[in-house]
């Protein structure tokens, strides 16, 4: 659904700067939304996207699989977001104060969804980051360990605790197959 034209990526890999510009500008909204999943302050999000653009521009020639352009770009962005996240303090969470999940999100108002998103962001930040990387962006334990510079076993325990927090808050079965 969110494919980019891999021929355009191949042109970018071969040094076509216009192709690269088109590719990355087409990802504007996606990069912004992804940035805000990991960071709260606009200045941090824009800073992370700026650095991501520069790194992607300099290293597009190294991309081996054009069809993985977006995955590759996402990983660079997550790495940049995490660098900035590490510098910020995080707040303690209190699940009892968070908005409750409505029975169906389809009919939920924008405000209700924003309340829930706020709730998601108030989960212990370290757990949330790892949950997003693993369950949303599909990174492996090894890749998360590489980005966060925390041991793989700690990543696993963060995932376990993050799942427990989310279950306590949402009361759902989000990670049960």
């Amino acid at each position: 659904m969110k494919n980019v034209k891999s021929r355009m990526v191949k042109r970018a890999i071969h040094g076509d700067q216009q192709a690269f510009a088109q590719l990355i500008l087409a990802q504007t909204e996606y990069l912004t939304r992804t940035g805000y999943l990991y960071l709260s302050r606009e200045v941090d999000v824009q800073d992370a996207i700026s650095e991501t653009t520069l790194i992607a521009f300099r290293s597009i020639g190294q991309l081996q699989k054009p069809e993985l352009f977006r995955t590759w770009l996402t990983k660079i962005l997550i790495r940049q977001c995490y660098k900035r996240y590490e510098e910020k303090a995080y707040e303690e969470y209190d699940v009892t104060k968070l908005a409750k999940l409505p029975s169906s999100l389809v009919g939920a108002t924008v405000d209700e969804k924003l309340d829930l998103l706020g709730g998601l962001k108030q989960l212990n930040n370290q757990y949330r980051q790892v949950l997003l990387m693993f369950y949303y962006h599909g990174l492996s334990i090894h890749e998360i360990s590489d980005i966060t510079q925390i041991p793989e076993n700690t990543v696993k325990s963060h995932l376990k605790r993050g799942k427990a927090q989310l279950k306590e808050w949402l009361g759902g079965d989000y990670f049960e197959e």
Binding site: M1, K2, N3, V4, K5, R7, K10, R11, I13, H14, Q17, Q18, F20, A21, Q22, I24, L25, T28, E29, L31, T32, R33, G35, Y36, L37, E42, Q46, I49, S50, T53, L54, I55, F57, R58, S59, G61, Q62, Q64, K75, R79, L105, V106, A108, V110, K113, L114, L116, L117, L120, L131, F134, Y135, Y136, G138, S140, I141, H142, E143, Y174, F175
Partner: protein, 460 residues
Amino acid sequence: MKNEKFSQLVDQLSAAQRIDSAKTKATIEQVLTTSGVHIKQRHHRVIWTFVSLVAAICVLTLSGMTITPVNHVMAQAPIIGNFFAKFDDDLGTIVETNGKSQKLNVTRTSSGMKVVLNSAYVQGKEVAITGTVDGLDKPKDDWFDFYLGRNGVKFSQDSMDMTKIANGRYRFYLNGQIKGAVPKNTINFPIVFTSFKGNFGRWAFNLHLTPSKVSSRKLNGKLTVANGDVKLKLLGIDEYAGGTGLLKIQQTKKFAKDEFTIFNVNVNVNNSKQNYLLANYDPIIISGSGKQQVVGYRVKKMPKNIKKIKIEPSLDKIETSQRTTLSSLPLTIRAKRTSEVFKFKKASLKSGKLTLRYYLTGTGSTDHQLISHNGNALAAINIMAKTYHDNGNDSVFGNDYLDQGNHRLINTKTHEFESTYDLSQKSGLKKLKLSQLQLQIDYEGLHAVPKMKQQIIQVK
């Protein structure tokens, strides 16, 4: 491990955020400009295409007073580039300009939003559809969703796009390929849209698309590239009524994992030169896998009497990794198929800190690119015990394998790098001596895909 349910929750919540992507666009443009990229405004090309083609129509229509057949053909052509050109669809623009796109003009309304499908085309397996949506006052994300009903053809989507044309009004586009054989008479295409920019509804259209007429002609010609690593055999061209074609080539590779691509196809007939390849499309794999495949390249209508086909090939060679014991350094290690050369100095191991110094050349990238790539381009060198056994799982390397080091460029003139590794991170490495350790060079991701010279296939 992606979790669909959690992803849907995050998608829906994230879509509710009010974000200002205009700031991101400005940020990206600033970085690109600073990096020396002159960003072309895409709509200029469309406008100038429109202006020049309208001018051409005026001339042809006027001249058609005396040349009736030309006037007749052009009178059937729609206003140029109304739909597909707006999405940079070169193939669709050709079909539309030739008056061979299929008018749809079907409307459905749901959740207060009116969706009109305007136009479609089918060229071989390639299908594209454009339409407009009205009443979309609260965009929440940048995508739309659809699926095809069970009684339709199997369809694999390639790309999609939406552009705003007025308040609450958007033009959208999707294209992709029919999987399997294309029906000869009618293509059942029961498409159901379920959301536009995060606004849900149900807009179902039972489309019957008309396949393009096709004629085939054979071409004979052979070419060997990359010292025999790839052999090409021309098979022929499928020519579609819409004015596009599929140039079919049999590609035989010496190594199945190598990736071969053609970037430009210049057909030389009576010394005329033109690039016929439609640049924005991936080659279609018609049959085969591994070492031998029949591949179709999307082209503009090609001349009848083809004598030469000039191509610009590219071959991304897969290089196998190499290992050597650290006590064997200093040593020069050359890639077997690609051009990288690692010239290692003697390794140093003190208190669990391993230091490697080496000169690296032949990657096709600058030293700066190597260092800045995701922060770890030089993660090409991994350290492991001599007794290390590869379990074939990239994500689980074990306690006697270390792929994380710190890399820096020491000397830009000599291309000297330094990589340091903290062996105390891994229980299976921290007590080992140099003679018990080995390094592995993993070439994947290290070298840039080299450009190759243009080559000519003589057509018989």
